[in-house]
């Protein structure tokens, strides 16, 4: 089984994101970069499948040279190959990402392509669907359980209020969700092995974006805390405020 896992380098979840003056972009300096956490579930699932069925896992990431550190972190989990699609900065338009990925991955003989359900920075959740569409493959996303049998697969998806079981035919694009598995630690042997794996760098003419982020802003400051100190006798007042002031019920 030949599997590609598309991963995105994103800021660490604990990084304090700074917006540059004018609000047009995010300041890169001082950011700790990590593999977008949903992508770790994708890598783990791909590794488990190839360990059970044979085959290889190729890590694919789009970005400047900086993302090679993240690619190595993915390789250290046990993947065999890696491709970096060179570009000056990671695209903001998921349409661009999907088109470029489709161009690079088409014709390489992959049976499955994994992605995370979404990247934790852009939160667009578009790449798995758009990529599958461009390849004319099946797409199942927000997957929490997966079984492959020959050229058929069964996936459990998380949906509002429950889960949904789907059958699909391969090849397919799978968007991994939390709970799909427990990503492994990178052990010392894996880290040392990853060091020696060559990363194939691919140049692509990226298509023009069809959307543009015009500004970033911080979330509204949290309001003053209100303390209720009279126990049960405050309940009516709390309910009133939640309804009228906070407008959450």
């Amino acid at each position: 089984m030949n599997i590609a896992v598309c991963i995105k380098q994103t800021p660490d979840t604990t990084t304090r994101i700074q917006v540059a003056d004018g609000g047009g972009e995010i300041v890169d300096d001082g950011i700790q970069w990590i593999i977008s956490p949903y992508d770790e579930f994708a890598i783990e699932e791909a590794l488990k499948l190839t360990e059970a069925n044979g085959g290889e896992v190729t890590i694919v990431s789009m970005g400047p040279a900086r993302v090679e550190k993240t690619i190595r972190e993915a390789l250290a989990m046990g993947a065999q190959k890696a491709i970096r699609i060179d570009c000056e900065s990671i695209p903001n338009d998921p349409g661009v990402t999907a088109k470029v990925l489709a161009e690079v991955l088409r014709g390489r003989g992959f049976d499955l392509i994994f992605t995370g359900r979404q990247a934790i920075d852009g939160d667009q959740a578009q790449v798995p669907g758009r990529l599958a569409h461009l390849l004319d493959w099946a797409c199942v996303s927000v997957v929490i359980d997966l079984a492959i049998d020959g050229d058929k697969g069964t996936a459990l998806r998380e949906v509002e209020g429950g889960s949904e079981r789907v059958h699909f035919t391969m090849p397919a694009v799978i968007g991994a969700n939390r709970h799909l598995n427990e990503p492994r630690y990178r052990n010392m042997r894996g880290i040392m092995k990853a060091k020696r794996i060559p990363i194939e760098v691919v140049q692509v003419d990226a298509p023009a974006p069809q959307l543009e982020i015009t500004s970033y802003s911080y979330p509204p400051q949290k309001g003053e805390r209100k303390l209720f100190e009279n126990g049960a006798s405050d309940v009516a007042e709390v309910v009133r405020l939640l309804r009228e002031e906070a407008q959450v019920i």
């Binding site: 630690y185 052990n187 010392m188 880290i191 040392m192």
Partner: protein
């Protein structure tokens, strides 16, 4: 001179810290109280590759150089709050696995290293005896050559991992006439060997999750193939293993000091007296400033020593200096951490008194600090 870590050194450090915090830090107070060695966690550490850091990949290790090994052990000391477990790993790796890696025959390496690296086998270094600690080469244990191998009689004491070990690296006198540098040989002894029995287990003030005990050898016959590094190689082998211990357990202490310093910083910023955080009082902040200085000095000595473990023929002086400086830095830092925590620090629940208890042994094992000073004095021609 370049003081920056490489990307893979950063990766292994971060991953070990992450692993240790997620997997190794539960229920330590209970384990410490009951003197319980966590075999399950030992095996998890084996999966991570911690028991085989510098061992070549073909024998099941990760093939790290000595500096990267020290950086990895430092990360373990930082992330893992079970000082006994990390100490047991160090004793196994530095005083048993590394000598086999460096001096084993191809057959010995193939037979033992993969299982020692994975954690399937636990090893103990059996050197000290009831009557000989600092002057260890005056040992009483004898291995007398006879048909079929060596006949061993003797008792070892203070053997870390002894009560749980599967194999022992045993030192015994094979030729008393040869003088200190050639009288002693090292043997790899399997626990099933008739005549070997684990003796008493000792209770101790710190490192309580690391089991320690006696080992008794009575008319035990070991085959010649058990000899490590040839007859008379015990002196060189043991001294090299102590150099690795003195430097790399120093690395573990550096990690522990960093953890204590960070705890002291956050506790002192939260705890208030006379209406302000205690960190605002110089009597407190000076203690933490000293912790920072000691840590940075200790780390430089450790990294320097580690670099030389790979490259220099003789690192005895570096190892002795590192051993003294770092173990004393750790005890002082642990003592000051308890002081900064005040009454809370004296209680078990805050988990800093345990680290103080754990730290004291550092001045004794791998050769006492007094003996290290003696080595330095001799080297200076005094």
């Amino acid at each position: 001179m370049n003081f920056a870590l490489t990307e893979d050194q950063e990766m292994l450090r971060d991953e070990i810290v992450h692993f240790a915090r997620q997997e190794l830090n539960k229920d330590i107070i209970e384990r410490d109280r009951n003197q319980q060695f966590p075999r399950d966690l030992w095996l998890k550490c084996g999966e991570m590759g911690l028991q085989g850091l510098p061992v070549p990949e073909e024998y099941g290790g990760a093939g790290l150089d000595a500096l990267s090994t020290a950086i990895a052990i430092e990360a373990l000391g930082y992330g893992c709050e079970d000082g006994g477990l990390s100490f047991s790993i160090c004793a196994h790796l530095l005083a048993c696995v590394i000598p086999i890696m460096n001096h084993g025959t191809e057959e010995q390496k193939r037979k033992y290293l993969p299982k020692l690296c994975s954690g399937e086998l636990i090893a103990v270094n059996a050197m000290s005896e009831p009557g000989t600690g600092s002057d260890a080469f005056n040992m009483k244990t004898r291995a007398i050559k006879e048909e079929g191998g060596y006949r061993v009689n003797g008792t070892k004491i203070w053997s870390t991992n002894g009560p749980v070990a599967d194999i022992a690296l045993l030192y015994a006198v094979t030729d008393p006439g040869k003088g200190i540098s050639g009288s002693t040989s090292a043997f790899i002894v399997e626990k099933e060997t008739p005549g070997f029995s684990p003796g008493q287990k000792f209770e101790k003030m710190g490192l309580r999750t690391s089991p320690i005990g006696e080992m008794v050898f009575e008319d035990m016959l070991v085959p010649e193939s058990a000899l490590l590094g040839g007859e008379g190689a015990g002196f060189v082998l043991f001294n090299q293993s102590m150099e690795w211990e003195r430097v790399c357990i120093g690395a573990k202490h550096c990690g522990t000091m960093r953890r204590l310093m960070e705890k002291s910083v956050s506790y002192s910023k939260e705890r208030e007296s006379f209406g302000q955080p205690i960190s605002k009082y110089e009597a407190v902040s000076n203690k933490i400033a000293d912790m920072k200085m000691r840590l940075e000095g200790a780390r430089l000595l450790t990294y320097q020593g580690a670099t030389r473990l790979d490259k220099a023929r003789d690192v005895a002086i570096d190892a002795s200096m590192t051993k003294i400086f770092v173990s004393e830095a750790l005890v002082q830092t642990a003592l000051d951490t308890v002081q900064i925590y005040g009454g809370n620090g004296f209680t078990t629940d805050y988990e800093v008194e345990r680290t103080l208890r754990d730290s004291i042994g550092g001045k004794i094992y791998s050769g006492t600090n007094e003996i290290q000073k003696k080595i330095l004095g001799n080297w200076l021609g005094l």
